[in-house]
């Protein structure tokens, strides 16, 4: 089956709507801008090649995330087996999309600061916590879908998610207090 089954239009059929999520996942895994881009591109290239094997009714989103994760871990494995290279993560910064602030837009400024604090806190978490937070809180995947991507039992997803949130809450305690005292942005 191809991606444009089930009445999906061509844009949807390519999975392009998941690119921000895939890029975020790649950055969460690699913590490196250039590697994240490479990973997303490689994911789409592999997906294009393999689209014929995706069965009707398949979960394309989960499929793409699984491809990305598999590519990343295969690369890691090759690196471990090959010559050891010194990783200097700080050499490649973690970029976020900076929206040019509009003049006197306090809300936008606060929003941007908050996002940066969230990004920094998530990147401080161990890899397993980073990815599970991304998959649940940002991609809203179900426990079952996450378990499929991570190739682990649903119970593990649940317990790991609980621990990840606990750690993240500690890291974001100052931001949470700030957002309680002045609700600038409101819930979306």
């Amino acid at each position: 089956m191809s991606w444009n089954h089930n009445g999906m239009d061509q844009a949807n059929a390519t999975g392009i709507e998941y690119i921000d999520g895939l890029y975020s996942y790649a950055l969460v895994l690699t913590r490196n801008h250039a590697e994240a881009e490479d990973l997303v591109q490689e994911t789409y290239v592999r997906a294009l090649q393999a689209m014929g094997r995706l069965r009707a009714g398949s979960n394309m989103k989960g499929w793409l995330f699984t491809i990305l994760r598999n590519i990343w871990f295969n690369q890691l494995r090759k690196r471990r087996n090959g010559p050891q290279m010194i990783e200097i993560e700080a050499e490649d910064g973690i970029f976020n999309s900076i929206v040019e602030p509009s003049k006197n837009s306090h809300d936008l400024y606060v929003s941007k600061m908050e996002t940066e604090q969230v990004q920094a806190a998530i990147q401080e978490l161990p890899l397993q916590f980073r990815e599970i937070i991304l998959l649940r809180e940002y991609e809203e995947l179900s426990y079952q879908e996450i378990a499929g991507i991570l190739d682990c039992p649903v119970g593990t997803v649940m317990s790991r998610l609980g621990r990840a949130r606990g750690k993240l809450r500690v890291l974001l305690s100052a931001t949470l207090k700030g957002s309680n005292s002045s609700s600038v942005r409101g819930s979306q």
Binding site: A36, D38, V45, A90, I94, F95, I122, E137, S142, R165
Partner: protein, 293 residues
């Protein structure tokens, strides 16, 4: 009747919409009569709300999005029946050279060889000058926007360590703003006011803002991989070649050292080198430019 301890895990399941049927109804009933569980749920929701407000966590760069969309458009809609060879060919054509790839791609290699050959044989220095000009233009545009307020500082601090820390992880290179007062050894004519990110060649450069008594000065810092210092009046000093020029009404000084390229833009009085004297009074002292390294 279940106690709160029995509902601990349900709070997370409820939050994640994993609770259904009888379990959901029971939990709703428990929430109504249990303020402790309601509080705990609220705390969980606050964290989730905070995370949801920062969606997407990162946005894919436009260039990446365009490449993928182009791939999607060119890919035949009858992909189900497209031969595997065709699919591979299209995917191969659309794949850009990977940034962190360990092997070169042939089209990129051929292009690079052509560019180098043209640069060496026909127009020596033109490409380098063009890159230098592009960096200067960016520095001037950023300085002008900074002056008119359309590019506000994202970090405001007079502390070099605070500003340095703010840039860490945001720009694709490492740099440290030294404590100018300690290193200059004389009274400072300028002070640090803060910094912000500036778009440059699809990535980010660091704009560092200084203030003298009369005016603002900006220093654009980027990796020497994407920016070069060239042209203008060349003055070697302290092992570094400084390039002075006057462009668009501003004094511009560029230099490269330790893998970074700098562009200092100001309206300080005097031509190029004289403008440096405003802040660095002892030009013969090779250590005087430490503040910019």
């Amino acid at each position: 009747m279940k106690g709160c301890e029995d509902y601990g895990a349900n709070i997370q399941l409820y939050l994640d919409k994993e609770l259904t049927g009888q379990d959901l109804e029971e939990f709703h009933a428990h929430l109504e009569e249990c303020p402790a569980c309601r509080n705990q749920l609220e705390e969980e929701e606050e964290l989730s709300d905070l995370l949801h407000r920062s969606r997407p966590l990162y946005s894919a760069p436009d260039a990446l999005r365009k490449r993928v969309m182009r791939a999607a458009e060119l890919f035949p809609s009858t992909t189900t029946h497209a031969p595997l060879g065709l699919r591979r060919r299209i995917a191969k054509i659309l794949a850009r050279p990977l940034q962190s790839a360990r092997r070169p791609s042939w089209p990129a290699l051929v292009t690079a060889i052509l560019l180098v050959t043209v640069g060496l044989l026909v127009v020596p220095g033109v490409l380098r000058q063009s890159r230098a000009n592009s960096y200067i233009e960016t520095a001037i545009a950023a300085h002008r926007s900074f002056l008119n307020g359309s590019l506000p500082l994202e970090i405001q601090s007079e502390s070099p360590s605070v500003v340095t820390a703010w840039f860490t992880g945001k720009v694709p290179f490492n740099f440290r703003l030294p404590s100018s007062a300690e290193e200059s050894g004389h009274e400072q004519v300028y002070r640090l006011t803060g910094g912000r990110l500036v778009n440059y060649k699809g990535g980010y450069a660091a704009l560092i803002a200084y203030q003298t008594q009369q005016q603002k000065i900006s220093l654009l810092v980027s990796s020497s991989r994407s920016a070069v210092a060239a042209g203008g009046e060349e003055v070697p000093s302290g092992g570094i070649v400084f390039h002075y020029s006057k462009q668009a009404g501003f004094n511009v000084i560029t230099w490269s050292t330790h893998g970074l390229t700098y562009a200092l833009v100001s309206s300080l009085p005097g031509s190029g080198r004289q403008s440096c004297m405003v802040c660095h009074q002892n030009m013969t002292n090779s250590g005087h430019f430490n503040a910019h390294r």
